[in-house]
Amino acid sequence: MLEAGESSCFYHPLKRAVVPCDRCGRFLCALCQVEFLGQNWCPRCIQASSEKGQLAQLDPSRKLYDNLALILATFPALIVWPTIITAPVTWYVVVRYWHAPSSILPRTKIRFYIAALLATLEIGAWIWLVLFLIYRRR
């Protein structure tokens, strides 16, 4: 219990603080103190970091946005016409999720590069086709 002149825990005001959180600096009691990666963390920092995908050590799963972009860029191209929609969507996925946490295993961004290249080619092909049809009609 807290005695006069002692600091209290941020989460439990009646308990004595024993250590500050190495992430947010809040004072923590023995109950709230979590030893993690050689530091003292509070439960809220662990939860927040985990939700942001910053703690690979705790993540139960990860989305593979680079694979998603590559699939969007390649498979619809087999039937050609869906690429008018999927090529811009591919570019959106590449830009939106470029910095999103990917696999916790060793992985490069090569899939993103290939997807962006293919999507650019598809968009370019569609623009060329539209211009070709316009000029041909004139």
């Binding site: 690979a56 993540d59 139960p60 799963s61 990860r62 989305k63 593979l64 916790i104 295993l105």
Partner: protein, 323 residues
């Protein structure tokens, strides 16, 4: 702050669209299941692992791999000089089937035991991979937990834990192998019927007999494969049943392929049944089929006879010294 742990891949991988793999971290083992859009992780800390159990399983796909390999080689040798396009398609289809069969091949199951759960490691499907992975794992577990000396093991200090960890073995039951006897005998009959067809004796009743016998063999082999599980039948007999099943399936596939080949090869020129039956591809297939059935039937009967002899032979009488 993003903390990215370092992982080293262990041997073994499974699945085609959903893949499993194992990775070794600084203080834990990571089991990864990956589909095209996401990955899910299971972590097993070295300090928590009590045992790694590798169980041997019957291997169904290895014989199929060998047969497909033989088909590929056969197509290369026989096909390319006559019908390159047809041979190339057959070769490609066989190659894809071989790679899928090789990827799905499984001859063991690996389990990881902790104090609160037993988890399967799906990526360790082959004994060679499991052996290499277990060696690396053992070293890391010993680093985390310390090694158990031979004296401690001998004193039985870890017996309780070992008894809890080891999976209960199913009881072995006696099997007379009646289904196997009938199946292998019928294979000789099927071989004999096939041989008469090669010699040119074909008729509707003979065809009906061949079909009925063939179907009966297939059903008996499936029944035998189910019955022989956890039985005292020798490993050779059990494996032969799997090989025969694989041969039966491959024979059906090759028969189909040969029929298509003859249809493409002869086309509208095929005016009579005799012309089709005289085709060399059909003759070669028929010969291989007959030899396969006769050989597998003979080997099966010999193995069953040896098993029966071993079962019926009384154990030797032990003579005491004092008599």
């Amino acid at each position: 702050m993003t903390t990215q742990p370092q992982y080293r891949k262990l041997h073994g991988r499974s699945g085609i669209f959903v893949r499993d793999s194992l990775w070794m971290g600084a203080d834990h083992l990571l089991s990864v299941r990956r589909n095209p859009f996401s990955e899910s992780y299971r972590r097993f800390y070295f300090a928590d692992i009590q045992a790694v159990v590798v169980t041997e399983l019957p291997d169904f796909l290895t014989p199929i791999c060998y047969i497909l390999l033989a088909v590929i080689v056969g197509v290369i040798i026989l096909g390319f000089w006559q019908r390159p396009a047809w041979a190339a398609i057959s070769w490609l289809v066989s190659l894809i089937a071989l790679s899928v069969a090789a990827r799905l091949r499984k001859n063991c199951a690996c389990y990881l035991q902790t104090s609160i759960s037993t988890e399967m490691l799906p990526s360790l499907r082959r004994q060679s991979d499991a052996g290499k992975a277990v060696t690396l794992l053992k070293a890391e577990i010993e680093k985390a937990q310390g090694s158990v000396s031979a004296e401690v093991l001998a004193s039985g200090a870890v017996d309780a834990r070992a008894a809890r960890v080891s999976a209960p073995k199913p009881a072995i039951r006696h099997s007379s192998g009646q289904v196997h006897w009938i199946a292998f005998s019928l294979m000789l009959v099927r071989g004999a019927v096939g041989a008469t067809s090669i010699k040119g004796f074909t008729s509707i009743p003979l065809g009906v007999v061949a079909t009925v016998v063939g179907t009966t063999i297939l059903l008996l082999l499936i029944l035998g494969a189910i019955q022989q599980r956890n039985s005292d039948l020798p490993l050779g007999v059990r494996r032969l049943v799997h090989v025969t099943l694989a041969f039966y399936i491959a024979s059906g596939l090759v028969n189909f392929a040969v029929s298509i080949y003859i249809a493409v090869h002869l086309g509208p020129r095929a005016t009579s049944q005799a012309m089709i039956l005289e085709d060399p591809a059909l003759k070669i297939y028929g010969l291989v089929d007959v030899i396969g059935f006769l050989a597998l039937g003979c080997v099966g009967l010999i193995l069953m006879w040896r098993h029966q002899q071993a079962v019926h032979t009384p154990p030797p009488i032990e003579l005491g010294n004092g008599g």
